[in-house]
Structure formats: structure tokens, C-alpha cells
Amino acid sequence: MTEGAFETVTYEKRGRVAHITLNRPEVINAFNVQMRDDLSEVLDAVRWDPDVAAVLLKGSGDRGFCAGADLSEFGSAPSQSAARNARWERDVFGALRDLTVPTLAVLHGHVIGSGVELALLCDIRIAADNAVFSMPETYYGLIAAAGGTQTPPRALKQGRALDMLLTGRRLSAAEAVDAGLIQRVVKPDDLGRESERIASDLAEIDPALAGAIKAALATARDLPLVDGLAHERRLSIMLDRGIAGT
């Protein structure tokens, strides 16, 4: 059992829902190396835990979900090749994206840079109406490196994604839902209850079916239609025969 408190993340199972909470509220849950390592352990536990049927990812504290990468640690890699190796040795972003169970990002307040990227690696995004979204990387001479140049164009349409990335434009929760960045907006007081309701509904879905839906959607995104249709058909037959998810 990996449940419990890490330095920067808390992990708790409620029923079949894994609650993962970014927990550096003093810096609006800024994403640092320790958080990467903690999240990596948690996601590994989630991946292999047959009792987990849905994941809810949120941020602690009132100020926001995640204020982005902790730039105070940037520039500490000994070389570019070391940085590249580290990126793929502990690919926490890939681990989140590749979970076969449904994942729900629960967003409030500041959702900046890596915060947007983490949210876009989840399947569904719900936000409090006080959430504000931005990708300010280029302002600091940086580019997004956890999918921020890839997942927003796929979720938002290319023009809006380029605008956010190049100008640093901030989107309100209402604008984010119009743009397709998030799917649902609720009052801040309702965020906890509503997100738990959605997550427990997601956990009710047969995991083999949920996994197949996610796999089919990934194919729809990446493959020509003819190949996607064939994959969907195969997945459907496998599910009927009870051999999906193997």
C-alpha cells in the first residue's frame, strides 16, 4: 500500500477512486523535482493497483491547482544529455497519460504552465469558476516541456493554442470551457462534492470498457480514420469476448 503522505503529494484511496493531491500549497503547488519523484511513485502504485478504477488529481490550498514549474531548480542539470536522460527515465507525464483508468483533473485558482499541462494529460477537466489558465513559458524564454505545445492544440484548436503559448494570454474558467480547455465549470464551494461525484461515477465503469474507450480515443487522435475504425472494431470484439485489457 502506497497510500499516505509524500513530501509534496498526498495519496489516498476512497472506495475505488485514487485521490492524488499536489501538496505544496505555500508555493501554489509549484512542480519541482521532488514532486516529479513523488508523483512518479504514486502513479506507479495506481497503475498496478487493481482496486483503483478512477483517479482524481487536485491541488491543495486556496490559491490554485498548480502555479507551474518551480524555476528555482531550473538550470541545475549537469548537461543537456543528462537533462534529456532524466526527462525520459522518470516520465511522470507519460505515466499519467498512459493510465488505463479514467482520470479527472480538478482545478481551481491559478492553473499555470505545468498546471495546464498536467490537467491536459487527464481525460476530463472540471474547474471552479475562479480558475485562471495561462501558459507564460515564452515570457521567461522557455518552451513548455510536458506536452504544453502538443496537448493544447489537440484540445483547443491550433489558433487558440498558439495564441495562449505565444502571447501568454490568460483565460478565465468561462473562456476555458468555451475554448475546450476544460469541460465543466462549477462554483468553488461545489468543486469538491461535484468532482467526487464524477470520479465515483467514472469508477463505476467496467475498467476494461474504460480502458478500451481511452485506447480508441488515442487512436482517433493519432491514426488515419481507416485504421482507427479497424482498431475500434477489434477492441469491440475483444470486449465482447472478455479478452480486452489483456
Binding site: 524564454g141 518552451i143 468555451d178
Partner: protein, 238 residues
Amino acid sequence: MSNPVNQSPEYPDNSDGRVLTIPVSDRAAFEDACARASTDEAVRLVVVVLSGEVSVEPGMPASIAALRIPVVSGMSGRIDDRALELVLAVDVRVCDTNTTFAMSPASKAGNGQLPSDGGTQRLPRIVGPGLATDMLLSGRRITAEEALRAGLVTEICPAGESTTRAQQLARKIASHGKSAGRFTKEAVLKGADMPLEQSLRLEADLAILLHTDPERAEGIDAFNVRRKPDFRQEDGSQ
């Protein structure tokens, strides 16, 4: 999506040569400016101002699409056919309230010719296949509001202000890291044609390549001491 971008200080004007406005009405001047945008290291950003009256010649959209630095356009009037193809090759598009857009190859105005400057390829990628098909086959003209909802523009400004607004956004982007803007554009546009997995590799490699750029160090230092980054030293300009 009509809120102002982050309220950070902006450079007062484009006199430092970072923002280049490309004239559309004169073909030779247009190509000269595109060539300068590709070769002059001081130029960080290109602005294209389009009003419906200007005629856009074949090949001009391709010249804009070939630029590796970010391009902003301000639009007004009727942005039709090749003019629309031109702005589809632009990265950030804003228009004023009176702007409309149409792509009408099947109509009389379109002369029955298939668009050949990207209209059938970029339009569906930018507004989605449903609206693109409707526009291309029926020639339906869409309003600025519809264009905003479809993601064809990201901001609508009051009538007559699209040029000013485009210049403002241009100065904003030009004050950001140059390599960062260029790499971001490359990652978005080139990554769009890849499976997600490969596109993430491209993004990560560009991010790590950026480690070698002094702009990145300047940006991180500025963040850590809570000051505004100044990228003018790093690119050899000024």
C-alpha cells in the same frame, strides 16, 4: 477569449526593429519584407495587416507560412479566398467587429477554382472539418463572432482598431524569448502532424536544445529575482 493578455510592461514601439510589419498591397515589397524576416536576426516577430480591399496574389500565403518566427495579423473588412488563405498561415489572428470571412471556390467569385494556397488544408485544421466543409462547399460567409467561436480568430476588437491591437500583441510577443517563440511555433505546427507520442519527443528535444540558449538563463534568473526578463542582450540586438 477577449480579455487583455497579461499586464506586463511592453516595449513602447517597434522602432527597435524587433517587430516588422509586412506590406501586403505591393508584391515586391511583401517578398522583400518576408526575406528580411527570415534573415535579420533582430526581427523577432512579423505583423501582417489585412483589410478586405487588398488583393493577395498566388504564393503569398506560402511566403508567410515559411516564416519561422511568430506572425500576428490584424484584420478588417471582408477576408475572402486567398486573403483568408494568407491569414490561415499566420499564428495569432485578431479582427475587428465588422470583419467577415468566406472561402468560396464554388461560387462565381471563386471562379470555380480549387484553392491552391492551403485553403482546403489549413482551414479544417484551424476551424474544424464541419465548418471548413460548409464554408468551402457553400461559400457561406461567417461573422467575426462565429470566427471567434470557431478559433479562426482569438480576439475581436472595436471597429478600426485591429491594426493597433495586432501591433500591441506583436510587441508583447516580441518582448518574450526569441528562440522560445520560434521553438514553440515549430513544436505546435510540426507536432500537429505527428502521433502524440512522437510530438512529445519533438517538444522535449526542442526544450532541451533551448538549454544552450542564453535567453533561457536570462528568463530563469529574472523569474527567480522577480524582475522582468530582458532578452535584448541575448540575441545580439541593441
